[in-house]
Amino acid sequence: MGWKDDEKVRAAVWEKSLARLQATALDAVLLGVTLLMVEFLVQAFSGRRGPTGLLLSAEQILDLLHYAWAAVGGLVLALLWNLFYRQVGSSLGRAWVRGVPEWEAPLEWTQTLRGWFTAVFIELTFFSGWLITELDLFTFLTKFGKAADIVRGLMHPSGAVLHEGLILLVQTIFLAFMATAFAIPIAFVLAFPSARNLTRNTLTARIAYTVARTFMNFVRAVEPLVWALIFISWVGIGPFAGVLALWVHSVAALTKLYSEQIESIDTGPMEAIAATGASALQVLRYGVVPQVIPPFLSFTIYRWDINVRMSTIIGFVGGGGIGYILKPRVDLGEWGEVGTLVLLIAGTVWLMDVISAKIRERIV
């Protein structure tokens, strides 16, 4: 009896200190960032000039902030707040980790330090963001002139590229189709080891899950544009490189969608099939596959749709399709021809959208 209680007490103490540590760490980060934003705004409005005599740019200010001091300051403030939480109310970190304590629950946000801190934090983020991204309403409202040329061109599409555009549009649609088609079998196979609910039971399954997930997340993290550059230098400029780039990205994206679908199935039929003495593969075939096929189809069609859109961008860097002839027109400022191509793309995307929505409706 005694040792068991001891162990429980120790576990509780350990849990409590861990929670404290988490709360303080969270607060330290938030307070540190707050200090940095305050310093940023002070510097920005101090009128300080750089060696060239101009006002400092946002990037220059970011460069000279005192990050180490902000870290130390944030940590000290976080420690103080978590030490005196009874007097000043729970910090954000504490409220996040341990929940809002009972006696604070009825308070409005304006009655707590935490509430005010949150409000100030959001304001600071907004103002710093305004400066860091160099928002400039004046320019936005007064310098429309140049862009008007483009808009005028887009509104007066020229027929000169219509023929070539239509041909490349066909290429674009097939490019997207091939990328999707090749992605389906691989994603289908990868989706099962990537589903948490199928991979809990054995060590092998857990390893398969980790490997599949890591691989998929890595592939998905790399933008299709980057894949396009890789494959262009591999197989050369043209639609094939575009297919490969979209294919790799689609495998990862479809695997994720498929596996999430598998994770959300009704486990009842699986159990019923397992209870008949069926083997693991039979359980997958009868208990899982019928439930996921319709959503898989619908995701796949949606993916084809996305791939048509993406292939335009891929074409820009040399991955074939309609984007490929769009780029030189943009560079030369042939806005009428750009207008034609943009209209073609928009029309196709709209059509794909409508068709895929209709098909998806039918399947589910």
């Binding site: 019923a272 083997s279 039979q282 019928p290």
Partner: protein
Amino acid sequence: MTVETAIRVENLGMVYPGGVRALEGVSLEVHAGEFLAVLGLSGSGKSTLLRCINRLIDPTEGRVWILGEEITGARGARLRGMRRQAAMIFQQFNLVKRHTVLTNVLSGALGRSPLLSSLLLSFPAEERQRAVAALDRVGLADRSTSRADALSGGQQQRVAIARALMQEPRLILADEPVASLDPALRHSVMRHIEALNRDEGMTVMCSLHDIDLVTRYATRMVALRDGRLVWEGVPAEFDKSTFKEIYGEDAQPASNTGF
């Protein structure tokens, strides 16, 4: 040995990963050929007990024997072979909704079917005949090509019974088979389970929470309360004080139960 033991459960305990204790020290025997009802409030551990018996979940303590063979610790083909002996019927039917009624019944034969053709949903002619016969027994032969989810709840549960029949098991584990059905339809489903017990000689272990059904169909009953076995007897011995013992002091039997 006079009475053959179909299921033996010894000191069974189950603690779920979250730390919930669902069963503690449950020991019981199910005799061959009997219809054993398992009673208890919801949450008392009835489903957990039934699922531990065919190892849909792994008990954390204790041992289970099916037809004299220990299923706890069994793996792979041996476990599957033992599962084939014990068909399960679920409260939620658990049919494959998008498959036809016939394919659902055929899936009861998966345990003895060749892997490759079964993955293509293809079964030998004699299995198909058996499936049609099983459907006929539950009165649904004319619905064999319907999609399973086109059927009513009572019909779906009868398909599930046909699937169990198809499995040619020696035991039936039924987990509140009629709890999600309209009261008027309960007997139509229970009668089919009774027929499996009486005509096919299958041993039935069935959780129920309607006392009426228990006294009508069971030959013996056990009761769980908070994961422990608290009562064991025959329907004739069941009375008001037993009721209180199982369901607690505050519980009231429904007015039509007769006591």
